[in-house]
């Protein structure tokens, strides 16, 4: 059948009656629409009405609701885990040198705190992780752009890049030690090998998710070449890119801990991984658990304090976030 339509269901014989009196059919040809203030005002009013009827405004949920929905559940979950842990400890399921109670772990951490070393240990790891991540960010972004934009490059290294993502980066540690010895270079090499593929893959996925319509619209308004990358490609790929960055950070942090745990030497400043290793060496289970908790807390903290707000902001601006989140 015809894929054309005659508008608004009005038959081909237009009803003469439907015309408004102030729009005579045989108007003076010289008269323009703009010369008719009444009609213009009428139109503006109609538009204002349509706009008002069809405008959504994003509202943010009240603080109380946010607290109830977002804060209470994890707090309850943590309390539950601590309770079970304490119960297991009190029931002496395992000897206390194997399963210390929450308070013993707390005391071990407090002891480290009073020694005054704990902050420098955390800082050592976090600064290594951050520096490694920033370098991985630059490398991963360049690599991701190359893979996303150039078909031969994608064909050549695209599969390798996604394969590398599933390779546990701890596997690189022995190789890195042989290459670089027990130096910082070893640690950074492992961090980079862990994080760069994630970031690059995230960017590639982000670029692939850009609507073709946006790419064409960009070309139409003159965003070609580097300006296309800057104004369309990167912002368009941002949601995928950010999840790549998040994963990249998780991989950096993991790789860093693996590297610190294995590559311990007096020349290398002590980080959380070395603290863990020290605990193992002294059979100090409270310290081991304490170090694990710290590693977990740093990872979660950076995710919650840096990545989650950025991601939420980006998604909210694009209308991709429902109020339930």
């Amino acid at each position: 059948m015809a894929s054309t339509d005659t508008d608004t269901g009005a038959g081909p014989q237009a009803p003469e009656t439907s015309r408004t009196p102030e729009q005579p059919a045989t108007s003076d040809p010289a008269r323009t629409q703009t010369g008719k203030p009444d009609a213009a005002a009428d139109l503006a009013g109609l538009e204002a009405g349509l706009d008002a009827l069809d405008t959504r405004t994003a509202t943010r949920p009240p603080l109380g609701q946010v607290l109830r929905r977002k804060v209470v559940p994890p707090v309850v979950a943590i309390a539950l885990v601590l309770g079970l842990w304490q119960l297991a400890f009190s029931l002496r399921l395992k000897p206390s040198y194997q399963l210390p109670g929450p308070l013993m772990v707390w005391d071990a951490l407090a002891e480290e705190w009073y020694k005054g070393t704990i902050l420098s240990i955390i800082w050592q790891s976090v600064s290594r992780g951050a520096l490694g991540f920033v370098v991985a960010l630059v490398l991963g972004t360049c690599l991701g752009l190359l893979v996303a934009q150039f078909r031969p490059v994608r064909a050549a290294i695209g599969p390798i890049l996604s394969g590398l993502q599933s390779l546990p980066s701890v596997a690189w540690v022995p190789a890195a030690i042989i290459w670089f010895g027990l130096t910082d270079a070893t640690i950074y090499a492992v961090v980079l090998l862990g994080a760069v593929p994630s970031i690059a893959n995230g960017l590639v996925a982000g670029v692939d998710q850009i609507q073709p319509l946006h790419l064409r619209a960009g070309r139409v308004i003159g965003a070609t070449g580097l300006r296309g990358v800057r104004h369309v490609l990167l912002p368009g790929a941002l949601p995928g890119y950010i999840s790549g960055l998040k994963q990249g950070w998780a991989f950096s942090w993991r790789s860093l801990m693996a590297a610190e745990l294995i590559a311990t030497s007096p020349e290398l400043g002590a980080g959380l991984g070395q603290l863990l290793e020290t605990g193992r060496a002294y059979q100090d289970m409270p310290l081991v658990l304490g170090a694990i908790l710290l590693i977990l807390l740093v990872g979660i903290g950076i995710e919650l304090l840096i990545f989650a707000p950025v991601e939420r902001r980006v998604l909210r601006h694009r209308g991709l976030l429902t109020t339930a989140h």
Partner: protein
């Protein structure tokens, strides 16, 4: 009715100025002289386009010839899938012709899509400012110019609105403002109002006619809605399907202001619809 290519329009235009071709240089922009010299805003000559691998090509457009005069409003009408979007993409330079040539003397045309195609990562105003920036408008002037364009599409105050906060009609108006921000001499529109409800579409028809009469831009407007084509155009061009060819042309002499329910619009629509049905029927015969 004529099937020949007429570049001189005879209809009474609602323009304030006389036809720009007859008054070259009068308060015009940079790109205008080139266009006035050429005497057309776009010239499509013997254009063919086929898709698919060599040997198994599908001929979509076949020997299209069409001129758009400076300041003219042409609608391109045809059944779904006849190659209207393909032709607009060719004129916009988003795709290459298989044969023939397209000349747009006034520089890169702007193109409005069926969907708004606004960038969701920018506010309404920033979308417009980006087009201004890419056109080379210096930063201090962009904000004011964007405000002016928003005013032109009657969206004063929508500068900071996010795209997803706007209604469908508002989005299309912002998209129109962004297209106008390119300040090109030729505005290509690919069924820009197809997804809107009848009343909103009606309002946007009036806006488009007003803006066209105020800005001197030439418009090539694609639609498969016969009445919309007649309502807007000075000239309606009918494309046949498979392959797309220029099947027929009508000059629309109905004076502005027009409304989609006017009897003249209806009468010409009946005639064009008959022709279009004939075109479609031909395909059922073999």
């Amino acid at each position: 009715m004529t099937t020949t290519l007429t570049t001189q329009t005879t209809s009474k235009t609602p323009k304030a100025q006389p036809s720009p071709a007859s008054a070259p240089g009068a308060g015009v922009k940079d790109a205008r002289p080139a266009m006035d010299e050429a005497g057309y805003a776009a010239r499509i000559e013997h254009v063919s386009k086929s898709f698919g691998r060599a040997g198994a090509e599908q001929l979509v457009l076949d020997d299209i010839n069409l001129d758009v005069a400076p300041g003219e409003f042409v609608t391109l009408l045809g059944a779904s899938g006849c190659g209207k979007s393909t032709l607009l993409n060719l004129v916009a330079g988003l795709d290459k012709t298989s044969a023939g040539s397209i000349d747009v003397p006034g520089g890169r045309p702007s193109l409005m899509f069926q969907e708004h195609a606004l960038f969701p990562w920018l506010t309404a105003g920033r979308n417009i400012e980006l087009a201004l920036k890419l056109r080379g408008v210096p930063k201090p002037e962009r904000r004011a110019e964007a405000e002016r364009l928003l005013e032109l599409v009657r969206l004063t105050g929508a500068h900071r609105k996010r795209v997803h906060e706007l209604s469908g009609g508002m989005r299309q108006r912002v998209a129109l403002a962004r297209a106008l921000a390119q300040d090109s001499q030729l505005l290509l529109m690919d069924e820009p109002f197809a997804a809107l409800d009848a009343i909103t579409r009606d309002v946007l028809h009036e806006e488009l006619t007003r803006i066209w009469s105020e800005t001197n831009v030439s418009v090539l407007f694609v639609t498969h809605n016969v009445r919309e084509a007649v309502r807007l155009a000075q000239r309606v061009v009918l494309l046949s399907s498979r392959p797309g060819r220029v099947a027929h042309e009508w000059n629309v002499d109905i004076p502005h202001p027009r409304r989609i329910e006017d009897s003249e619009v209806a009468n010409l629509s009946v005639e064009i619809t008959e022709e279009l049905r004939g075109e479609i029927r031909r395909h059922g015969q073999h």
